[in-house]
């Protein structure tokens, strides 16, 4: 009944692929548009329905299509070597592996991006207000918009954090919004990551490495830079400090070298020029957090923690945690330290709360969400649960707490026994499960063996809230499911990544061409035009906040 059937019908009607277009493709794209491929239902980001190349990818396609397989392979090897030598790896079950980066970038046009950017900013603003409310007076519950049971039954709702107000009001210093593109090409939000979203280091390193390996591609495109993420993050963290800290001492708190995202923690600390600390480097005394240094102790004002709430403070949460700092939460409550992201954010990225996001956006902002959710059935509502149990074999069932792609069941691929087991599990704990129709994620050409094949991708843009405005890093992390037909992109499940390019607005490209030798006598390219969308977004936000304050 939902999007699935609708879009199925539409795409199958369009699956006729003109033969001449296939013949035109270079050998790298052999068989790419084969109508029998398992990805045929999905929206391909490079090729349109009539096998023409979409505008965003035209220059990329034209430079890659004529190249030899050997050349591409050589570049792929150069990429891998660069990653291993730089130690850009993630650990999987204790083993260090290079994070697989695919050669072919994913391209977003300026128009697509500015739409996404506005949608993400709106979402983060609404979620900030939601968190402030939930850990404050819970007005939204009093007004009957959300059932109280929804909040209190959430595993990541921490009563320890109620009435703990951060000095500048920001709880979502960094958020990652997972987006997918459905069969019609519409971007939808799959889930929010509001606790410690990771992956931004791969965005920066992918770009740096790609620019080394494909200098000519970058020369042909005008790609918006991702290099200044750390500047924005540091500003947000410094702004978060209590107002009496003149020169706030910011640290990054990592679980340690064994953590899968350790590389990212150390990269961020290095780029911000702050200390990377483990729990054992910190201690609390009289509600003040200190750092152990070779010259005694030094007070810490802001902790950008990359440790889950549960492990953060053994006094309040898991008593057996060796990663956290005893007394941290009390110090935060006393106003002597700021924890970023705030404790208890998990209540806002719960997958069941996610289904109420349209109501949340409407309630706090009086707006419609700019980015739609993926249609979701809530197993805790009796009529929707009945539907899920009846249609289990065509849905994807997900645990509300899950991350990393663990615990997800594709009904169509599960055996009858597994489905029966799942039915029992859902009946026993309906709050713990949601179900969604299978969304065929969009595909992008990906190097598989010695040719390019379509593979499903998602997108995780990162937003940084510094209290004055919300900055969205242009692009974000594109994860790609490497096994054929797979829809799970998590790196823990055999996923890779792609460099994500947001093209600068067309006007700026024209400016640049005008500024080239020979034509340079005309007026110099206006710098304002180049940062067009960015400037307006932050201006808008500031203005809106001013209104609220007034």
């Amino acid at each position: 009944m939902w999007t699935m059937t609708r879009s199925r019908a539409r795409t199958s009607g369009l699956r006729r692929t003109p033969a001449r277009a296939v013949a035109r493709l270079g050998e790298l794209f052999d068989g790419y548009l084969d109508p029998a491929r398992p990805h045929a239902d999905a929206y391909d980001e490079m090729f349109g329905e009539d096998a023409s190349v979409r505008a965003a990818y035209r220059a990329l396609h034209d430079s890659i299509a004529p190249s030899q397989v050997a050349e591409l392979t050589a570049r792929a090897e150069a990429l891998d070597r660069a990653f291993v030598d730089q130690g850009i790896t993630f650990s999987l079950s204790g083993q260090e592996r290079p994070f697989p980066l695919d050669l072919i970038p994913r391209v977003l046009t300026a128009t697509e991006w500015s739409k996404l950017e506005r949608g993400i900013v709106q979402r983060v603003r609404a979620l900030e207000l939601f968190l402030a409310d939930i850990y404050g007076d819970a007005q939204i519950v009093r007004d009957g918009v959300l059932p109280r049971r929804l909040i209190t039954s959430c595993e990541h709702f921490h009563r320890e954090a109620t009435l703990l107000k951060p000095p500048n009001g920001v709880r979502l210093h960094v958020s990652g919004v997972d987006l997918v593109r459905d069969e019609s090409g519409t971007f939808r939000v799959l889930e929010d990551n509001l606790r410690c979203p990771s992956g931004v280091s791969y965005v920066m390193e992918n770009r740096r490495t790609m620019a080394r390996v494909f200098p000519d591609l970058f020369a042909r495109h005008r790609v918006r830079s991702v290099g200044d993420y750390a500047v924005h993050l540091l500003r947000a963290l410094r702004n978060a400090a209590a107002p009496n800290a003149a020169d706030p001492n910011v640290v990054v708190l990592t679980p340690g070298v064994a953590n899968s995202a350790y590389f990212e923690h150390s990269l961020l600390a290095r780029q911000m020029g702050v200390e990377l600390v483990e729990g054992r480097d910190l201690f609390c005394r009289d509600n003040v957090v200190y750092l152990r240094t070779t010259e005694g102790e030094r007070q810490v004002d802001v902790i950008y923690r990359r440790i889950d709430d549960d492990f953060l403070d053994p006094v309040h949460f898991r008593p057996d945690s060796v990663l956290g700092v005893a007394g941290l939460l009390n110090a935060a409550r006393a106003g002597n330290v700021v924890i970023a992201n705030a404790v208890g954010n998990g209540v806002a990225d719960d997958k069941l709360v996610y289904t109420y996001l349209p109501e949340i956006v409407q309630y706090y902002l009086g707006e419609k969400p700019l980015l739609p959710n993926v249609d979701t059935f809530r197993c805790w509502l009796p009529e929707e649960r009945a539907h899920v149990l009846d249609h289990l074999d065509e849905l994807v069932v997900k645990p509300v707490e899950g991350s990393g792609g663990y615990g997800i069941v594709f009904g169509a691929q599960a055996s009858t026994r597994e489905l029966n087991g799942l039915r029992r599990t859902i009946r026993a704990n309906p709050r713990g499960w949601i179900a969604q129709p299978v969304v065929q994620l969009s595909t992008v050409p990906t190097k598989v063996g010695d040719r390019l094949a379509p593979r499903h991708v998602d997108l995780r843009p990162f937003a940084v809230n510094d209290g004055n405005s919300i900055f969205v890093l242009p692009g974000g992390l594109t994860r790609v499911a490497l096994p054929e037909g797979s829809l799970i992109v998590n790196s823990s499940q055999g996923g890779g990544s792609k460099d994500t390019w947001v093209l600068a607005a067309r006007s700026s490209t024209v400016d640049r061409e005008l500024a080239e030798p020979g034509l340079a006598t005309s007026a110099p390219a206006s710098p304002a035009a180049e940062q067009g969308p960015e400037l307006t977004t932050s201006q808008q936000q500031q203005q809106q906040q001013q209104e609220k304050g007034a």
């Binding site: 730089q86 600390v277 005893a326």
Partner: protein, 314 residues
């Protein structure tokens, strides 16, 4: 600076130096065994293992290959070259934000290449592996020299390197104290320390035990001499001390130990050196151990782990 990072830097200094020096010592011993048929391989190997502090297996007799296998390639025990490389890299990984990217990539590439170099050396002879280790260590020292600020981080790195250097030269000398004064073994000692050319130029080719020992223990100018390394460690500790307000005696235990060891050597009559050499070397070795402990107590405050298992609200 963060105490844990200081500790890491200190150990990076030590491990890189240890890998380098072990490669040098082993290189010379292996080639002495190969070139000189009169040397007993088993006895020489066991002597070397004793000096390096590696447990020798009972029963089996050692030859060049099994010695190389154990001291260079094995990662089962802490004294081998490969184990030192692993530890140096592991420490750097935990302290990425205080070492430069170049230094990290140098050690990481070294770590990644070990397998391949080892396989190559098994076919082509161990010398290729030793050269690889020595070159990488030299590269690391050069990169540290040209990319690190001369702040406390640098001082901890150099402190570690100097302390390890004293330890390794002492071990090297201990392996030869039983030799006759005219034994050709003394040339190998010089070669191991990379001091052969410098020595020949300094003493115009005259080779005898007392001069070799004098050169490696007391020379003020040669950077691998014990005296030079002690002085350097002392200088690092002095600069690390930011409150020079104590007016009597040494301010810290580590500094006191180093100063005493250094002045012992400094004011020793050169011709008394060979008398009682083994005891003197043992004392130096003990000093190195104590310095390590004192430094760690003074700077690397480790927190005792507190269990919160019964933290219930009363």
């Amino acid at each position: 600076m963060l105490a844990r990072n200081a500790e890491s830097l200190y150990w990076i200094g030590r491990y890189v130096e240890r890998a380098d020096d072990t490669a040098r010592i082993l290189d010379v011993t292996v080639h002495q065994l190969l070139e000189d048929a009169t040397v007993d391989p088993d006895a020489t190997s066991r002597q070397l293992l004793a000096v390096l502090g590696i447990d020798a297996r009972e029963g089996a007799s050692f030859d060049v290959w099994s010695l190389t296998e154990l001291v260079a390639y094995s990662s089962d025990h802490a004294g081998s070259i490969v184990a030192s490389i692993n530890s140096a890299r592991e420490n750097t990984r935990g302290a990425r934000e205080v070492v430069s990217t170049e230094m990290w990539e140098c050690l990481n590439a070294m770590y990644n290449a070990v397998q391949e170099r080892q396989a190559y050396a098994r076919v082509m002879g161990p010398h290729a592996f030793f050269t690889f280790v020595e070159e990488r260590a030299a590269m690391f020292a050069g990169l540290a020299d040209s990319t690190m600020s001369r702040d406390d981080g640098w001082r901890f790195l150099v402190l570690g390197r100097s302390v390890e250097r004293v330890d390794m030269i002492v071990r090297l000398l201990l392996s030869r104290v039983a030799d006759r004064a005219s034994s050709p073994g003394w040339v190998t000692v010089l070669r191991s320390a990379g001091a052969h050319d410098t020595y020949l130029r300094t003493y115009r080719g005259a080779l005898d035990a007392s001069r070799v020992v004098q050169f490696l223990l007391l020379d003020r100018l040669f950077p691998r001499s014990v005296f030079h390394a002690l002085r350097q460690a002392e200088a690092c500790l002095e600069q690390l001390d930011h409150q020079p307000s104590v007016r009597v005696g040494a301010r810290a235990e580590a500094l006191r130990l180093l100063g005493r060891a250094r002045s012992d050597l400094e004011f020793l009559r050169p011709h008394d050196l060979l008398d009682d050499l083994p005891r003197r070397l043992k004392v130096l070795q003990g000093t190195v151990r104590d310095v390590g402990e004192a430094v760690s107590q003074q700077y690397f405050h480790t927190a005792p782990w507190v269990a919160w298992t019964n933290a219930e609200v009363v």
